[in-house]
Symmetry: C2
Subunit: 349 residues, 2 copies
């Protein structure tokens, strides 16, 4: 048993073994070790065995980045992923899907959180690039992604997820935000609602704008004049969403239904409706599924996104491009699905 407090250990830190060490121990040249490690042909069975034994004995691990320096393809088998926040269930599902695809190719994934901070977008991307990732999957908040043009020119695949980039043409995987929002609002209209509130995130965020657009378009198509007092933006946490709902309920003519345009906002809305005793009176449809939604009382009707598909499509697109696919950038629009559970089927009184 090796131990940190083991006196044998503390005096001298052993260096990591290199190919040279393995070569010396096996009594061969380093190129031969390289051939064995990379399973190249033209090495005798006996030499292979000797090298394997030496590598085993030294617990040799090749330095992938040293190799990358000289290797023709310059691949690091590494990918950079920037999501909203690795702690958000939506982002976590995207991350997981990307990881699963990457794992098939022995590609490791750097994951970072954007936190809707433009500075973090830049520093994360730079951190990825300095580490020479093979590809990028990015959720962005900067007004323009034109700064990535040089990277595209260098042949680094970049796929944008969840939000469309600006100032650059690149592959993009997004949810059908406006359409999904329309579906939610149409559902509420069909239930007889006319006073439908919109609770959304900062308009700087692409998805927030799109969902609001779907909400507004659908109201207009139905001949319902949007009421500015029923539309609240900039709700970037649960607490703000809860407070907004309290304000709405205090109006002279409060909404009979709420369209909540993001998962954390939906949670805040539920909390607030519950504490006001209004959860069985005011209808609610949320955009993006919420954990445990089916077990709540009433169960929460949502327009569910498909984060696993988003991540998978994005990762596959990166690898397709790495495999040489050369076609114009395109959009992948991932459908949403209205999941009827109860809260959205409450009728106006």
């Amino acid at each position: 048993m090796t131990s940190l407090s083991d006196p044998k250990r503390s005096d001298a830190l052993r260096r990591r073994p290199t190919m040279k060490n393995v070569a010396d121990l096996a009594g061969v040249g380093i190129k031969t070790v390289s051939r064995v490690i990379n399973r190249e042909p033209h090495v005798s069975e006996e030499t292979i065995a000797r090298v394997r034994r030496a590598a085993e004995q030294l617990q040799y691990q090749p330095d992938i980045h040293a190799g990358n320096l000289r290797r023709a393809d310059r691949r690091t088998d590494t990918l950079g992923l920037l999501v909203g926040s690795v702690a958000n269930p939506f982002s976590a599902a995207v991350h997981r899907a990307v990881e699963d695809i990457a794992l098939e190719r022995h590609v490791a994934v750097f994951a970072s959180s954007l936190d809707e901070d433009p500075e973090r977008e830049l520093s994360s991307v730079n951190a990825f690039l300095r580490r020479r990732v093979d590809g990028l999957i990015l959720t962005t908040i900067q007004p323009s992604q034109a700064y990535l043009g040089a990277q595209l020119d260098q042949g680094i695949p970049i796929v944008f997820v969840d939000r469309r980039p600006h100032g650059i043409e690149a592959d993009t995987v997004i949810t059908e935000n406006a359409e999904g929002a329309s579906g939610a609002v149409e559902h509420l209209l069909a239930m007889g609602h006319r006073r439908i509130a919109y609770l959304g995130d900062d308009a700087k965020i692409f998805t927030a704008r799109e969902r609001k657009r779907g909400y507004l378009d659908t109201l207009r198509r139905a001949g319902v004049a949007p009421d500015a007092r029923l539309m609240i933006d900039n709700l970037d946490d649960e607490a703000k969403a809860s407070a907004a709902v309290a304000d709405l309920l205090a109006l002279d003519d409060p909404p009979t239904a709420i369209f909540s345009a993001q998962n954390l906002i939906t949670v805040g809305v539920i909390t607030s409706l519950r504490s006001a005793g209004a959860s069985t009176r005011v209808a609610l449809v949320g955009f993006d599924d919420v954990p445990m939604a089916a077990l709540l009382e009433p169960a929460v009707t949502v327009v569910a996104q498909d984060p696993a598909s988003i991540g998978e499509i994005a990762a596959r697109r990166v690898f397709d491009r790495l495999d040489g696919l050369d076609e114009p950038a395109r959009d992948f629009v991932v459908p949403t699905r209205l999941i009827v559970r109860g809260s959205g089927e409450i009728r106006p009184s």
Copy 2:
């Protein structure tokens, strides 16, 4: 606007600029560029400006791994993190905390999912090591982690999270599993329960064993003989947990309370109790908090873990060691907190 379909672009992929390119453009030697990039002294203001301009113009990004090869400290400013699954809320919270600490130091994080697969443990660790991470934060499932002894000897900080390693002495950050489980069971005993079921994960998992130990010890201390029919292991997804609850409820003398030892299991239990109409009759305390627990009916009493602290402590420990801290390996035990919400306060009929 740069575009993928831009004909100017497709003919020749520009190479990534190197220090040499910047040096040539600025009319200086590469060492001078290196000095400017690394903010080393002894460069005139004028030269700095010229180099900066050239680097800017070429959008130069230094290759951190090429530098690492020669640099004395051999740091890659990279960390490997292996968690249960990046999609699990507990793991995601650990990940987020690690990321926050790492970001302060400009360290990027490789995140991988273990999926309780011993092979994945090995392949993830190897993937990290081949990429020369500065430190490792690991959740493990292999019966022994002795294979990591060589890395410790090489001075690579390794911190184990959530589960204690075997065959090696290294820093470990774990939840007070047995104590937390005891607290849960004591709570149920105090409510008058004697037939308390245990629903847990695979006994190969350290936390599952510890929590079961806490359950058993507490029952024995209270003079309650454990009933084998009330203890179900190997529940590794919600569906199995639900099925197990259905079986329990079908017993002649069903449990009056359930101690559910993991978050996904708790969700399965809730679903099953609900559909059997037993959620207000059978008490439930879960280990690890569950999303929306406070909003369920009844709200779910849990022994909450503190994944953010676990991640933070682990990351700090890695960096302390990288900063030269040299003390014996130690355990960090993170306390749990009983959150009383309703489901655990149901009394036996």
